[in-house]
């Protein structure tokens, strides 16, 4: 499978520069493109200096939370008393997100190089790359890349292993991922202790997203100032970001733009805009777990951590889900809720029962059997599901429901009043 699109002039190709270039996948091809120079330099550098450099770059976690990467690394114990671990979150399961898959498919050595640098920075001997179980192609590519690079001896004393997930969304949550690596059921853990104190196997652990680590070699190579300079809006959001655009656009795919890039341009220019005759209705900008934006909010939104929050949502993983005027928002929100109900790990009461109940109410509305009071009930349940559980899966189910009812209430009412024909069986 080749890479489906040519770069758009408005893109900033940093991480995706070699996407579509089959030769870049191989160890030799990567070295030819300047690969592993940053690692060589990093292994000869004091870990504290590496952390400072990454801090200075402004790099923030690309998995969703946007936590400053260098700061996270600095949380590891100063005095090393136990083995340290690095976990790489390659469990990319957030609906609407498919950027890490492309990084692993095309530039596996970028991830490995970043992984080894991070491991050195946090003084970890072992790094686990936890790959989503369905990612069969990236898995094979990563395993070959590790074998080739290890054979070449570039990782020094650092050992990198691939751990394959078994198909649970929740295993992308960092502590569930650690449980899964340990061979346990993938349930999120209560925090504290935080991973830097007691992570995988109870040892100090740092966990980073694929895209975050893939950026690290480039930061070392080009300097923190260069990375910090990649910024179109808020200086707290630096660098480039891959956005996975899906849904009702003419050219869905991954696009890499500088932080602060207008969402409007991403949709209308890079992604080819809506289909002929269609107009934009709504957009989920950061993967299925974040609040839905209206057309007006979408078109005024700048793509960085602060810009999306300003419009009432979150940058999240950068999975941009686009709905045009043909979309049935009630149905779409029900599909999301059903996903969370299916994936809830069942630990916390609010999530186990709330996600399923929410789904049932939405299904009933779509079956033409809803009542107006159901909307209040949904909002109340969402309130009860927010901020009260171990992880945020429950909150993630509530976010689209709350924003959906707030912003697209008339669509719910159309089903309830009978103005719209039922679309699911009662």
């Amino acid at each position: 499978m080749g890479y489906p699109h040519k770069p758009h002039p408005k893109e900033t190709l940093v991480l995706s520069k070699h996407f579509g270039d089959a030769e870049a996948r191989s160890y030799k091809g990567w070295v030819k493109r300047g690969g592993y120079e940053a690692l060589k330099q990093a292994l000869a550098t004091d870990p504290a200096a590496l952390i400072e450099e990454v801090k200075a770059s402004g790099l923030r976690g690309r998995g969703g939370a946007g936590f400053p990467t260098g700061l996270k690394w600095s949380f590891m114990p100063q005095e090393k008393k136990k083995p340290h671990y690095l976990c790489v979150n390659a469990d990319e399961s957030e609906p609407g997100t498919f950027k890490d898959r492309e990084i692993m498919r095309w530039t596996p050595h970028a991830l490995l190089e970043g992984t080894a640098i991070a491991a050195h920075a946090i003084r970890a001997e072992v790094a686990y790359i936890y790959i989503r179980g369905e990612f069969t192609e990236p898995l094979a590519i990563m395993e070959k890349a590790i074998a080739d690079a290890s054979a070449a001896g570039v990782f020094g004393a650092i050992k990198i292993y691939v751990h394959r997930g078994a198909g649970a969304y929740i295993c992308g949550e960092e502590t569930a991922l650690m449980n899964s690596i340990e061979g346990k059921r993938g349930n999120p853990r209560i925090k504290p202790p935080f991973p830097a104190a007691a992570g995988v196997f109870g040892m100090p652990t740092t966990i980073n997203n694929v895209e975050t680590l893939a950026a690290v070699p480039l930061i070392l190579k080009n300097g923190a100032a260069w990375y910090k300079g990649l910024c179109l809006s808020n200086p707290k959001s630096t660098g480039t970001k891959l956005f996975s655009v899906c849904g009702h656009v003419q050219k869905p795919g991954n696009y890499e733009v500088t932080m602060g890039f207008p969402l409007k341009d991403l949709l209308y220019d890079l992604s080819g805009g809506m289909r002929p005759g269609r107009t934009l209705k709504a957009c989920i900008p950061g993967g299925s777990s974040v609040p839905i934006l209206t057309r007006e909010e979408t078109e005024a939104c700048l793509l960085d951590y602060e810009g999306v929050v300003e419009k009432g949502s979150m940058l999240g993983s950068g999975g941009v889900i686009v709905f045009d005027d043909s979309a049935d928002m009630v149905y779409q929100i029900m599909r999301l809720a059903r996903f969370y109900a299916h994936e809830s790990c069942a630990q916390c009461t609010q999530c186990r029962e709330g996600t399923a109940w929410t789904t049932k109410i939405l299904e009933r509305i779509l079956a033409g059997q809803g009542a107006m009071k159901d909307l209040d009930l949904l909002l109340d349940l969402s309130e009860n599901m927010t901020g009260k559980t171990i992880c945020v899966l429950s909150d993630s189910c509530a976010a689209p429901v709350v924003s959906g009812i707030k912003k697209f209430k008339s669509e719910f009412e159309a089903y309830i009043t009978g103005k719209k024909r039922p679309v699911v069986a009662a």
């Binding site: 059921r185 209560i190 630990q347 609010q350 009860n384 901020g387």
Partner: protein, 511 residues
């Protein structure tokens, strides 16, 4: 010490204390399901959410450690709303079959819903989740429809019993407690999952539909199953023991008892009890009143020549064991007991807790009072002894040429040759003490009356002493012993309390 305020009550607790435990000390019960002090913290039921000043959102009291100056509010509107919503979520799929549920009356779901739940449901239109009842093990049924997935049972089997045969199977609202397909819940301590279950989801087959919780009378007792001396509660209904449950004692059994001890209660309800004193007249045992029987026994003791032998049960109270020795005090005395042996079964996750091989509660007490473990030579001595006293050993025949005084709960054929038979109470029918293998003296309390004219062994034996020496209560019998036997010096019922005391503790030896 850390000082904090919970619902306006200022308390000081050691660093590292969990808010939920600190609250108990402030007299506040934070409603909870998954938390149990004997299990690792799970933090999953989310029932114990409380407001903590300066925290951005509600925190679970079971996983939050106290900090200096912390201000905890369990009754703030936010905390109450959160709990009410958890109760609503727990109830939407709960069958509400309390009228036919064994747990009703002692159900934490029932209690907290009653305390602060909503009267009506907002889930009315949907079918509830249904899964059939499962047979988990020899004494445990699983009723998944009632399960609130607190995972106490899973954590008990995994971390305490360390035989992880239970898990949470499936995800979301389809989740249930699962059992390994090739395993049974037959660990020697598995029955604890029934006690740990806060709802009626894990049930004891033995107790199934036997009684409603509110019909039960509860009495503090000590298990007679082995030398561990686990603290238990005897549940009686209409003076019949119907259930044995662990009574927490962190020094002995934490919160647990083994299945051997749990199931070994039917003998307490035996119907073939001796209900009147018996004396031998014209070659036959005849029922008489206590005065006559005691007179006869006193006469035998006074007139006895030669040796005296006491064969005692290691299940007898320390008081009775002491008095049996004392009534033979003036004679050339030999005392012995025999203890049934079984297989040891430790509870892996708790240090020094096991079903012990010696299957009697008072082996240490008998030894401290000078009885020999093993009856072989005592039996030989009994053959030619002048007087033989047997204290409730129905399984041992004690042939003697002398006079046999038999004190028992039941009358075995082997005791029909006795000159006097005195009917005594069993452990559920009297006050008394046992000394466990770690020399902890522990009190037990009566749970039901003794049948007919049966009286506690300490009383019957005490009556055989000289008129001025006879104890008027078990406590006085104990005091007599404390005055006479060095090991018990300084101890009394008052100092033993509910948790017992180790011998030597009073003299400054650590617990």
């Amino acid at each position: 010490m850390i000082t904090l305020t919970i619902d306006g009550v200022a308390i000081s607790v050691p660093p590292g204390t969990l808010v939920i435990e600190a609250a108990k000390q402030a007299g506040v019960l934070v409603p909870h399901y998954c938390y149990h002090p004997g299990l690792p913290v799970a933090g999953v039921c989310r029932m114990c959410l409380v407001e903590i000043e300066k925290a951005p959102k509600l925190q679970i009291a079971c996983a939050t450690q106290v900090t200096e100056g912390m201000v905890v509010k369990t009754q703030s509107p936010q905390a109450k709303d959160a709990r009410q919503s958890v109760l609503e979520f727990l109830l939407i799929n709960h069958p509400l079959d309390c009228p036919i549920c064994d747990q009703a009356g002692e159900c934490e779901l029932q209690d907290f819903v009653f305390q602060e739940g909503q009267a009506a449901t907002r889930y009315a239109e949907y079918a509830k989740r249904f899964n059939p009842v499962e047979d988990f093990g020899p004494d445990v049924l699983y009723v998944p429809n009632r399960c609130i997935l607190c995972t106490r049972c899973v954590r008990f089997m995994e971390d305490v019993a360390q035989e992880p045969v239970l898990n949470v199977s499936e995800r979301g609202d389809r989740a249930t407690i699962g059992i390994h397909p090739d395993a049974r819940l037959d660990h020697p301590w598995a029955g604890n999952v029934v006690d740990l279950c806060p709802v009626g989801s894990l049930l004891s087959k033995d107790f199934l539909h036997k009684a409603r919780a509110w019909e039960l009378d509860k009495s503090a007792s000590v298990c007679t199953g082995c030398t561990q001396g686990c603290n238990v509660t005897l549940d009686t209904r209409e003076n019949v023991v119907v259930r044995v449950r662990p009574r927490p004692n962190l020094e002995v059994n934490q919160y647990f008892i083994c299945d051997h001890g749990r199931n070994n209660y039917r003998w307490l309800n035996r119907g073939d009890r001796i209900e009147a004193p018996l004396v031998k007249q014209d070659g036959e045992l005849r029922a008489v009143d206590w005065d006559e029987a005691l007179d006869r026994a006193r006469g035998l003791l006074r007139g006895a020549g030669g040796r005296a032998v006491a064969i005692v049960s290691p299940k007898a109270s320390t008081e009775a064991l002491f008095l049996a020795r004392r009534v033979l005090g003036g004679l050339d005395w030999t005392g012995a007991f025999e203890v049934t042996m079984g297989e040891q079964a430790p509870l892996a996750g708790v240090p020094n807790l096991a079903l012990r091989a010696e299957r009697a509660p008072n082996v240490a007490g008998a030894e401290l009072l000078g009885y020999t473990n093993g009856v072989e030579s005592a039996l030989r001595a009994a053959e030619s002894a002048g007087v033989v006293l047997v204290l409730d050993e129905p399984d041992l025949a004690v042939p003697t040429a002398g006079a046999l005084i038999y004190l028992g709960t039941v009358l075995p054929d082997s005791a029909r040759g006795a000159a006097v038979v005195l009917p005594i109470a069993n452990v559920a029918e009297e006050d008394g003490t046992f000394v466990n293998r770690d020399l902890r003296v522990q009190r037990y309390f009566p749970a039901k009356p003794a049948p007919g004219m049966a009286r506690p062994a300490w009383w019957a034996l005490g009556e055989l002493l000289e008129a001025g020496d006879r104890p008027g209560s078990a406590a006085q019998a104990f005091d007599l012993m404390a005055g006479a036997v060095e090991a018990f010096a300084g101890l009394s019922y008052a100092t033993l309390g509910a948790a017992g005391r180790k011998i030597g503790q009073a003299a400054g030896v650590p617990v």
